[in-house]
């Protein structure tokens, strides 16, 4: 397979124009660490943003950073940390999740890849997803035209919000070069309250109370006993199930919230300070450490109050399944043994009453070819027309999200 690595947007535009003229599809890659996420793309040529790399401008006091899409996340994280900032949506690093079939570079994922897949970590319900921090971009559409949208300031409503559309479009609408994101101060201190031994309904009640109270919780997860034992953070394993509640902020406020949560939620509990909290929430964010590397993984998004009930249903229905909850119950990470298949009907059928959707995060290629990876809502015809508005010849990552789009 040809791997093309344009250094400029003009060069990338030339590649896309030629592909459009010849009607030969292209697979768009950052570092390729998430190639296993989405449907397999049938393309003869790959285009990587690897040579379109580097931070172009960073103004911490204005909360904006502009970098080229191929910039490695590691570089971004370090540059922001030097100025006491971070990307508040807590982008997960899925490199380990897909290590089995990734052609990824050892330097890890890219900013463009994080935006194109609209990732979000445990802070999602409080701080938003990649979409909420994506301010503007330059790119090349499927016609090979160079265009831009959004801006380089944090507040902007000029024209359609195309960065939103790019976030989560998996490279099917445009190849991006310069991207501008919102940066925010990193909290000084983090504490995590661990509630031990709660069953699903009790954990749900505790998380609802914590998220509905004046505690400024920025992470709320539930690890059943078996998964809690797989954590490498201190005080997490060995106490039955763990309901974890994170508070962040200045020293005084995180200590205050932590004490209030322990007082108001009672039961057998413990608290983690910044270093241990970081270990635990990184595990929850990156997923891979909790599950066997071979199994099938679903990411299920539901109304938070329904999460524990739905998850318990899976545990009964599918033998050998495992799960944990994030986003206060609104996110179920569900693992199924490979030999039982993806069980898409069962998984998606369970959401019919409460609403929500399930994404097949990891599965063998033949499964992802057959089962819809994404549960697209609204109108497939409209999605098709949006695709054609950017890529009329269908040369950018065709079929990556939905067959034929």
């Amino acid at each position: 397979m040809d791997l093309l690595s344009p250094a400029s947007l003009e060069e990338a535009a030339g590649i896309v124009r030629a592909a459009a003229a010849a009607k030969t599809p292209l697979e768009i890659l950052g570092a390729g660490t998430k190639r296993g996420f989405g449907r397999p793309v049938a393309a003869d040529r790959q285009v990587t943003t690897a040579a379109m790399s580097g931070i172009l401008s960073y103004h911490p006091e204005e909360l904006v950073l502009t970098a080229r899409a191929g910039t490695h996340m590691r570089e971004i994280v370090v540059a922001l940390a030097e100025r006491g900032q971070h990307l508040a949506f807590e982008p997960p690093d899925f490199t380990a999740l897909y290590s089995a079939d990734a052609a990824g570079s050892p330097r890890g994922d890219t900013l463009g890849g994080v935006l194109a897949t609209n990732l979000a970590g445990p802070r999602r319900f409080a701080a938003g997803a990649a979409r909420d921090h994506f301010l503007g971009f330059t790119g090349v559409n499927g016609r090979g035209e160079i265009f831009k949208a959004g801006g380089q300031v944090v507040k902007n409503v000029t024209g359609y919000d195309l960065p939103k559309l790019m976030a989560g479009s998996f490279g099917t609408l445009a190849l991006m070069d310069q991207v501008t994101v919102k940066t925010l101060p990193r909290p000084d201190k983090t504490r995590t309250v661990l509630l031990y031994g709660l069953d699903g309904p009790a954990a749900s009640a505790a998380m609802t109370k914590a998220l509905g109270g004046a505690y400024d919780v920025t992470g709320a997860a539930y690890l059943p006993n078996l998964l809690a034992q797989r954590s490498k953070a201190e005080f997490v394993g060995g106490h039955g199930s763990v309901t974890a509640l994170r508070v962040e902020g200045s020293g005084p406020s995180s200590a205050h919230h932590c004490a209030a949560l322990r007082r108001d939620l009672g039961g057998e509990n413990e608290e983690l300070h910044s270093a241990n909290s970081a270990v635990l929430w990184r595990e929850i964010r990156d997923v891979a450490g909790f599950f066997d590397g071979e199994n099938i993984l679903w990411r299920v998004s539901v109304p938070p109050s329904h999460g524990p009930g739905i998850a318990a249903g899976f545990a009964i229905e599918v033998q050998g399944s495992d799960f944990y909850l994030d986003w206060g119950g609104g996110l179920i990470w569900l693992s199924l043994p490979l030999e039982h298949g993806a069980n898409a009907g069962k998984v998606r059928g369970a959401l019919a009453r409460c609403g929500g959707h399930a994404t097949l995060i990891r599965a063998p290629e033949e499964v992802r070819r057959k089962e819809p990876v994404f549960e697209v809502e609204g109108s497939p015809a409209l999605m098709q027309r949006v695709k054609q508005a950017f890529d009329p010849d269908g040369v950018l990552d065709p079929g990556r999200m939905v067959e034929g789009i």
């Binding site: 103004h59 359609y160 919000d161 509905g212 109270g213 938070p304 929500g356 269908g394 999200m401």
Partner: protein, 495 residues
């Protein structure tokens, strides 16, 4: 302001069209009387007026779908309208277009505290959502200054902000779900009480689309816990540079205040004369910083903010000791627009965003432009996010002043773009900034946005004449491409 040429055939056929729609909506679903139509001839941008062909007032999603289907069948233009508070002329009617008022869809359908969200119809006012959630200790965060009147449907269409959006985000960051109706009358639901639906983020792109892509008929918003306390600090500065430096230092210190507002000398004086908020009249710039959250955090951060302001030359610094004092500090800022209205018969409220580090330079050049155009200007500024609201003072009754004010405004917005900013931070493009779009976007940029429009509204019937300076026909934009003589997916509907 030039609008698309009205279609005389449509205007001539008004009676038959109205009769046909009355059959579908009932007599109280349609307003055709010339006097009654005057109530709808303008929105918050009162410089422009145009009565619509007639006004349709549907009561349900299915009636909205009926109206839109009817309009699509008859090639009728549609201008959606919430509460009509747009400051950019987003709801300015068309002489040959139906004004689609969403005011009758005004029910709060559900307050779901367990899932921290509310499901409401588009005609519900922004503030009513917070009121409905108040008993449970929750509120809806985005707070545009018109929140007592503006509707949530209009907030979605404009992606409205407010003084607290630095910390809590714009409308788009506080939405969980939408139901909208396409121009063909198809009802589409996006999202719900769960997060991050799969597929293209149509909710994200509908938000802020200014009524050009579809008509929103239901909104699910996230609710936040009311902060335990809020405290405000006010300080005067001897120069705009020093006030700007204080703002940069506050954010540089890792503090994101709930609100951070700046006013320049003319705005300080207008506000102080009007409401006597106790602002220092000898200051060149005024800064209001509000912190919210637990008391312990507010006090901790306020100390830091105070030190930063003092280090940057602040004078007359004051921190609210109770709620009454906090409201008094805000009173001047919140009354800034009417205060300016008191000293001038008319004013334009502009809305650009700039990189904040360019503020001193922008204010200097704005002062020069003020001299050049012979019109006064006062500035209020959402300092945290660089969103500038210059208020241009003019008198519409003096010949030429409206045109001069428009030119002055255009020059200010061009300046915003020139220094790396944008034309509008929260008010929308509408008709007001439509013709300036080419200063920020190339032909290709605009064509790409319009191709997206074509994916939703191929006949360009939804709110034409807004946002885009040129109406390209969709066929001309080459939306449809043929693969080897046949269209892909022949089962899909085509236009």
């Amino acid at each position: 302001m030039q609008m698309p040429e009205p279609d005389q055939k449509t205007i001539a056929g008004k009676q038959q069209l109205a009769a046909a729609l009355t059959q579908r909506l009932g007599t109280d679903g349609l307003i055709t009387d010339a006097v009654a139509l005057r109530a709808y001839e303008t929105d918050g941008l009162t410089a422009y007026r145009q009565p619509p062909l007639f006004v349709a007032l549907p009561r349900s999603t299915s009636e909205v779908a009926t109206v839109l289907r009817f309009c699509a069948e008859h090639g009728l233009k549609v201008v959606p309208r919430g509460a009509g508070t747009s400051l950019s002329g987003g709801a300015l009617p068309l002489a040959d277009g139906v004004l689609l008022g969403l005011g009758k869809l005004n029910r709060i359908l559900e307050i779901d505290i367990a899932n921290r969200c509310a499901v409401v119809q588009p005609g519900v006012t922004n503030l009513a959502i917070s009121h409905a959630a108040m008993a449970a200790g929750f509120y809806y965060a985005p707070d545009p200054s018109s929140q007592i009147a503006c509707s949530i449907g209009g907030n979605v269409a404009e992606n409205s902000g407010g003084v607290h959006c630095l910390k809590y985000g714009l409308t788009t960051n506080n939405l969980l779900g939408l139901e909208f109706v396409t121009i063909e009358g198809e009802v589409i639901r996006l999202g719900g009480k769960h997060l991050d639906p799969a597929g293209y983020d149509l909710m994200g792109v509908l938000t802020g689309s200014e009524g050009l892509l579809g008509v929103v008929t239901e909104v699910t918003v996230r609710l936040l816990r009311r902060p335990e306390t809020a405290k405000a600090l006010v300080a005067g500065f001897p120069s705009n540079e020093q006030a700007g430096a204080a703002v940069a230092a506050i954010i540089g210190a890792g503090i994101i205040p709930a609100g951070m507002e700046m006013m320049d000398r003319p705005a300080i004086h207008a506000a102080e004369d009007f409401v006597h908020a106790g602002y220092p009249l000898d200051a060149e710039a005024l800064l209001i910083v509000e912190l919210d959250g637990p008391t312990i955090e507010c006090d901790h951060l306020l100390q830091k903010v105070e030190a930063i302001c003092t280090a940057n030359g602040a004078t007359g610094l004051r921190v609210s000791r109770d709620e009454a004092e906090r409201l008094k500090i805000w009173a001047g800022r919140k009354a800034a627009f009417p205060a300016v209205g008191r000293i001038s018969p008319d004013y334009f409220c502009m809305d650009g965003t700039i990189p904040r580090r360019r503020l001193p330079e922008v204010l200097k050049r704005m002062a020069a432009l003020s001299k050049q155009h012979g019109l006064r200007v006062a500035n209020v500024f959402h300092a945290g996010d660089g969103n500038l609201h210059p208020l241009i003072l003019y008198d519409a009754n003096k010949p030429g002043e409206l045109a001069a004010a428009e030119e002055f405004g255009a020059d200010i917005l061009k300046l915003c773009v020139e220094v790396g900013g944008v034309l509008t931070g929260e008010h929308g493009v509408g008709v007001e900034k439509r013709d300036l779009m080419p200063t920020m976007f190339s032909e290709i940029d605009l064509a790409q946005q319009q191709r997206l429009k074509c994916a939703f509204d191929p006949e360009l019937l939804l709110n034409p004449g807004k946002v885009f300076p040129t109406l390209h026909r969709c066929a001309e934009l080459g939306r449809m491409h043929v693969h080897g003589g046949s269209l892909p997916h022949p089962e899909l509907p085509r236009f």
